[in-house]
Amino acid sequence: MKDYTFRISRFSPARDATPYFREYKLRLGDSSTVLDALFYIFKNLDPTLGFRFSCRGSVCGSCAMKINGGHRLACETQASGLGNLITISPVSNLPVIKDLIVDMEHFWKNYRAIKPFLVFNSSGREEHIVSPHERKRLNGLVECILCGICFSSCPVTGLDENYLGPAALLKLARFLEKERGETRERLYPGITRHGVWSCRKAYNCQESCPKNLSPAKAVRNIIFKTAGKAFRK
């Protein structure tokens, strides 16, 4: 058991002019995560605290937040490695709905904008033959849990509200793989001005991704693959 002070950013748009910090003192067991701590506070100290959760196992992408300044998933972050004073605030670049809960609609709008789906032909009983080598090319493109951490830690999304952002572009890179021979043209709108060309290679996305993915690298690949063609229309 260890004593902690949590400084948590609180904000109710209807009531507060600006966000403010509130402090909570609590004791936690050795392998407690930040999500455990938030639940402890919620159940015992302050039932009005707002935060998202679902899987508690770092697979669903619900619990992104800023922990001691860095963007992390609360459910996979051990409190014991963070010192006795832990500061928590909502992720950047998205409007706050309440406390640690942000409105992700902008993020999802960008996700939809790249048309994240295969246009497939359902005829035939057999699967497409995809060699292990071709399948390997999808590694790093299909594991994203859409938690939004890359979007929130990217310096460009903060400045240019039209920029699609890292997660959507990573998705785009997946659909440009043509292991099933789908046409790529319908995807080009996602590649133009507010797409890959806006990336400034800060690599924050790669640094902060809880799944160790690299949207920045995916962006480089998209440019390499589509050079010259993407501006056509």
């Binding site: 392998s31 009005t48 605290l49 935060f51 959760f53 679902s54 770092s58 699967e127 594991e143 849990i145």
Partner: protein, 559 residues
Amino acid sequence: MAEVIIIGGGIAGLSAALEIAASGVKALIFSKVHPLRSHSVAAQGGINAALRNHPDGKNDSWEAHMIDTIKGGDFLNDQEAVALMCREGAKRVMELEKMGCPFSRTPEGRIAQRPFGGGVFPRAAYAADRTGHAMLNTLYEQCMRAREEGRIDFYDEWHVLSVIASGSKCLGIAARNMRDSEIKPFPAGAVIIATGGAGRIYSHSTNALINTGMGIALGYFAGVSLKDMEFVQFHPTTLYGTNILISEGARGEGGWLLNKDGKRFLSDYPDSASSMEMAPRDIVARNIIKEIRRGGGVEDEYVYLDLRHLGEEKIQERLPGIRELSIKFAGIDPAKELIPVQPGQHYTMGGIDVNIKCETGLNGLFAAGEASCVSVHGANRLGGNSLLEALVFGAVAGKSASEYAEGAEKYPEAFLKESEAGLKEKTSFLMNSRTGKSQWDIWEEMRKTMMETAGIFRNRDGLTKGLNIISRLIGEYDGISLSDRGGVMNMELYWAEELRGSLRVAEAVLIGALAREDFPGRDDERFLKHSVIEYNSGSPELSLKDVDVSYCSPAERRY
């Protein structure tokens, strides 16, 4: 355009939505979390289908899959339903592949398959150890296509509070927008419940925190019966503390289970003395509990899973996921330290009673996925069959519901009148200030009671005691005090709404279990039955119903 409301955006819900959209009916998906945060995303191992892609699976067939499933479920499955699932399986998995689901591949470029417990052939198709994630994302992506075309609408972070029915007919739902707490009735031609399992009525569960079972109660409260609720699957090895699943692979690769003295205690129990760690799931789970009760557990709570002798290299190569989970969630590196593990609730076999077309007892109300009980799993689900069930029966429910909705009367008159009353009852919750118990005391007592009395070991005394406690908690629920009066993302209110359903689902599990006391031999005369429970305005009523054995007849399970 006719409309179908789907409650739940997991694999069952999205599979239903795509089927509905394809038939020219509009699908409205309500989910309390963004659909990609549904519990389906966490499934790891694979989805069963007789694809015959594995060299050892060349003789596999849907019939062989069916027989494995029925045997695994101890003949308490409805066999027509099992046959349908196994026949449709390969087709649905192929369809998913065509949508772009990133399955792992064989050297020939076909969908890769791996062996799973209880299957005579390797037939679990997988996408690394992220099969649920791959499937859910693929289905959601196709939903985005249908959304562009105006065939699917999403209501994310809407908490559905009731299914509205009048007489024998389902008319729609009432839901609360968690963003502003507005409660609204939604009429629909048909409604599908696809709300997943009820793991969180237990203190130790591998399920997501949102799996409260409230969705199952939505149907129950509206008057449809629950079936086989006592059939609950426990997994022997879940991480102590969080109960995150540590897959069977860890033991498959040679991991040992040790008691607090460092002894491989499974040798002390006759039914696991020869197979040791590789004995079937239920036996390993039972013997871990026995060992803890005997005093061999650490802190009387858990035992150890030892992987150290496998060596860091092998652990990193074969079990990287388990290593990552142990480090992140228990602060323990299995290459150097012992992993604390204990059995935990894993899967809800019972659920809303539906027939092979996913129809409930109410016209216009359907159910699919883990929330339903079409009875493909019988008393025990095989790994890899629940993703298949969600995918196949999600689509079946979608087809049945869209056909029904096309013929249904639009915006029935009775609808708003019926719903008004229900809505008032729900909102009063927010308004009234009460001074009773905290809901957290009730949650905790319910979960502990369920674990102790309706866990791996059950007997009449324990179950009766459990039922008494749950009945008391149901009474206390009406007086719980809430202090958050806010309308925006009021999570205290959210949990209180869930608790109402969880308590009733817990009660149904206990009632079902009491109908089926532990009995050592076979007695098919008495036990080859489904238990069926009706809500009956709060005084649940139990009855029994025959199991469909049209394909093969029961026999003693031997492996």
